[in-house]
Amino acid sequence: MGECTCATGTGNKKQDILIPMIGVITDIRTETPDVKTFRVVGRDGKKLFEHMPGQCAMVSVPGVGEAMFSITSSPTNTQFQEFSIKRCGVLTDCLHGMSPGDEVTVRGPYGNAFPVETALKGENLLFIAGGIGLAPLRSVINYVLDKRENYGTVEILYGSRSMEDLVQLKEIQEVWCKTEGVDVYLTIDREQEGWNGHVGFVPSYLKEIGFSTNKTVLVCGPPIMIKFVLSGLMEMGFKREQIYTTLELRMKCGIGKCGRCNIGSKYVCKDGPVFRFDEIDELPPEY
């Protein structure tokens, strides 16, 4: 009905949640051949918004597209937000071609977060990530490290195809590995010159290490890895209630209204993206 004249355009411009902010890229780090980390602030140079670990934001280049990315920086960072983005389509191609100073639009944060202030508080934590799956977990890890006293042991198991494909390697080696009470296990899929660490897939390394079950697990990675990690953890005696993951790839509009993220009675945008596996089990297998 093109004739509607109900908006006269006089003043009333309360910002809808779908209207983004303008974000300025201040720094771009090349993590791997196909992953770059973008640092984004508002035009005023300040952080765009506050978020919690595991939340996502919609990043867009007008005319190219928009997509949901998990925020990789920790909320404890007061300066900026970071997104680690893998090149896999038109929008990400475009983002990868950008330079510091370029502008994008950002809206968010969206979704729930890992329950760092509730369920996870005081718990021993095991992070398991594969490839770009480290992106959402990095936010939690750094949050936990910054509030170290609130949590028990921290163990990180991270693997990728090759040495070059390990995201945030510098931070892992220089910060995480050196933090007391944090155990980091790295692995790559195949033997490689210059790598003297573990070689093998994440699920098998998981079993080799053989973690005790007195901890909460946060998993993120490719579906196939999650599947085997999950069964590995089950074998080791973990309960599904102890394991969290994030389904942020199913988010579209970000606010649970456009209908795409609807799985059973849940909306990933509103009820997720962070779910405990026992919650996921109750959903139809459409994720």
Binding site: V61, P62, G63, V64, C94, H96, G97, M98, S99
Partner: protein, 666 residues
């Protein structure tokens, strides 16, 4: 707004001296270009195509890490390859270059600076929008068949073939008539030296026939051409000669004995007759007759067979069939020559009604010792020697109306001078008058030749046109005008010779279509560039030799024949050619397998196969199109036939063209 910030575009604006700069405000174009998203570099230069200009492009590519280049200059048809080469030298894929044509399409036609500048900016934007979507393309390779085809066995074809063969490559000549030799073999003497045409042509014909690298197909026609530069597949129809070439000794008895002798002799311009079994002329190569089946009694009635009976070699073979020779060629030269125009629309010259009104080519035959009158100058009506002759120039040439040709046939002034001179030399008592519009004699020793005709031989040259020629008391009455003395002329004469316009051989249209070579409104084949590529057709691998490209005399024809030959040799010397990567490509995820594309492809480049595709997780076997990039020539017919847009053309992709449209309409 196409915000694809991956690309880093450099814009280079050429002044072309003042050719562009005079009517386009270069500075404003630069400013506008620099503002476009994605443009990281913009500069101008006097002559972008010069070495220094190209250097600028190369430097900017390296320094600014350009991913795309837009050159605002002359037509891409002129310098696209130049700038692609420059890009390549700087390490950029050559297909990341686009040209905005701001000379031919802007500065040369729009005199208003405001208008020109605005349009130049828009065309620049369109080129930027397009280059944003360019993708690096890799040219493929295709093999070169080391053999050339020459269509037409006249002096142009013979010379081209000889030159190619001498360079060491195989050449085939296809000649429609029973013998090579062409128009030149019909000529008596040649200007400006007056040497005998046969004396200089025959050795060349013999050379060609004897050359081990040359194969001659006479009485043959090109039937079908497919393929492309480097590898054309050609079917040649060898028409049934009805005489076995391997057995015939060329004794000529059959022609003498043939009872059917009333057939107009084409070689003598139908001024006399020949037999049904015949060789067109004595020096014919091959010296093997053919049976003209339409006029042969044996073929018409089944009875006769005289030739077969008299042939001691047993060469006559009534059962012979047309034969198709299929051969692959790396290059093709068109040398199809010319004919004189038909004069049926020129009633005023009474050519149809008066036997004594003849064309210049007929006069050649009459003057020739092997001609219908054995070389005696005589009136065809009564066999009497003429006392007076009138030559009329520009019959159908430089013609304003639709009866004739708008162009100058170029050779008539000279051969008319030749004819006049020869007649005055041999028959000093014959009075010769020439009516002309202009006498055009550019060429070495040409004007001297003409002046000799006037000064030494006393030929009367009258500037003016003839309005009417009519029979009058057994003679011809010529009504004309003398424009210099401004008087009407009414004179009686015995013979009138018409310098009839020449036109390309009518068969050339069919051949051009087969070769996809373009042709102009006068049926002359179009050269790739009027000045810089005069012997190449715009279709790669097709070359032009002789009058099929435009009117020429013999030395020019021979020169062009040599030029075409060297172009062919240059091509055949390569083992592989770089193929045009701007070819169609099918996206299997979008392909319906409907075959619409296959049906419109002129090159048979599209084929279908059942292939397993992975459509976002759905794996199934589908019938999908694939393009043979060596066969595809990049026309794009398939892209529009495809409803789903699966078929796209690299270098001219749907999205590139849409981006140009958007930029232009912005």
């Amino acid at each position: 707004m196409e915000v694809n910030q991956v690309q880093r575009i450099g814009v280079f604006v050429c002044h072309c001296g003042t050719n562009i700069a005079a009517t386009v405000d270069i500075k404003r174009v630069l400013e506008a270009a620099a503002k476009e998203p994605g443009v990281v570099h913009a500069e101008d230069y006097q002559y972008m195509c010069s070495e220094a200009g190209q250097q600028k492009v190369r430097e900017a590519i390296k320094e600014k890490q350009l991913t795309g280049v837009v050159v605002c200059s002359c037509s891409p048809r002129m310098h696209e390859n130049t700038f692609r080469g420059a890009a390549q030298k700087a390490g950029l894929n050559p297909y990341m270059v686009e040209i905005a044509n701001i000379r031919e399409h802007v500065s040369w036609i729009h005199k208003n600076i405001e208008e020109g500048t605005e349009k130049a900016i828009i065309l620049t934007r369109a080129a930027i929008a397009k280059v944003m979507l360019n993708a690096p393309l890799q040219a493929g390779q295709s093999k070169v068949v080391k053999r050339a085809l020459v269509i037409g066995g006249g002096i142009a074809g013979i010379q081209t073939a000889l030159d190619i063969a001498d360079a060491g490559y195989e050449v085939d000549i296809v000649e429609k008539t029973p013998s090579i030799g062409g128009r030149m073999s019909q000529l008596d003497k040649t200007f400006p030296t007056l040497d005998c045409s046969a004396c200089i042509l025959t050795p060349k014909m013999v050379d060609a026939a004897a050359h081990e690298k040359i194969t001659i197909y006479t009485y043959s026609e090109v039937e079908k051409v497919s393929g492309f530069v480097g590898d054309f597949q050609v079917d040649i129809r060898k028409k049934a000669r009805s005489v076995d070439m391997s057995k015939c000794t060329g004794c000529g008895v059959c022609q003498e004995k043939c009872p059917s002798k009333k057939i107009p002799n084409e070689f003598n311009r139908e001024l006399d007759n020949r037999a049904a079994i015949y060789t067109p002329f004595a020096q014919a190569i091959p010296n093997v007759p053919v049976i003209d089946r339409e006029n042969c009694i044996k073929f018409k009635t089944g009875k006769c067979g005289v030739c077969s009976k008299v042939c001691l070699a047993g060469a006559v073979d009534y059962e012979q069939q047309d034969e198709i020779v299929s051969q692959n060629y790396g290059a093709i030269v068109v040398a199809t020559g010319f004919d004189t125009i038909k004069l049926d629309k020129y009633e005023e010259y009474s050519y149809q009604s008066c036997p004594d009104v003849i064309t210049s080519l007929e006069l050649e035959r009459i003057m020739n010792a092997a001609g219908p009158t054995k070389g005696h100058l005589e009136r065809l009506s009564d066999g009497k020697a003429p006392k007076s002759m009138v030559f009329i120039q520009c019959v159908g040439s430089r013609c304003a109306d639709e009866r004739g040709k708008s162009y100058c046939s170029k050779i008539c002034c000279m051969y008319t001078a030749k004819h006049a001179m020869l007649i005055r030399d041999k028959y000093p008592d014959v009075d010769v008058t020439v009516f002309y519009i202009d006498v055009r004699t550019p060429g070495k020793n040409f004007d001297e030749f003409y002046r000799r005709a006037v000064e030494e031989y006393g030929v009367h040259y009258i500037k003016g046109q003839v309005g009417k020629v009519a029979e009058h008391n057994g003679r011809l009455l010529v009504q004309g005008a003398d424009l210099i003395d401004n008087r009407r002329i009414l004179m009686e004469t015995d013979m009138v010779v018409l310098a009839t316009a020449i036109e390309p051989n009518p068969d050339v249209r069919k051949i051009a279509t087969m070769l996809t070579a373009s042709i102009d409104t006068n049926n002359f084949l179009t050269e790739s560039h009027a000045k810089l590529r005069p012997v190449e057709s715009p279709t790669a691998g097709i070359f032009l030799s002789g009058v099929c490209q435009g009117p020429k005399d013999i030395p020019e024809t021979v020169a062009q024949a040599g030029a075409a030959a060297i172009k062919v040799v240059g091509l055949l010397a390569k083992d592989y050619l770089v193929t045009n990567p701007c070819v169609a490509k099918s996206d299997e995820l979008y392909c319906n397998g409907c075959s619409a594309c296959e049906k419109v492809c002129p090159y048979g480049a599209i084929s279908y196969e059942d292939r397993e595709v992975n459509d976002h997780g759905i794996r199934e076997v589908r019938r999908v199109a694939s393009v043979n990039s060596a066969l595809c020539q990049g026309c794009g017919a398939c892209t529009v036939a495809c409803p789903s847009g699966a078929m796209d053309l690299q270098g001219f992709s749907n999205r590139q063209i849409l981006a140009e449209v958007d930029a232009i309409c912005r």
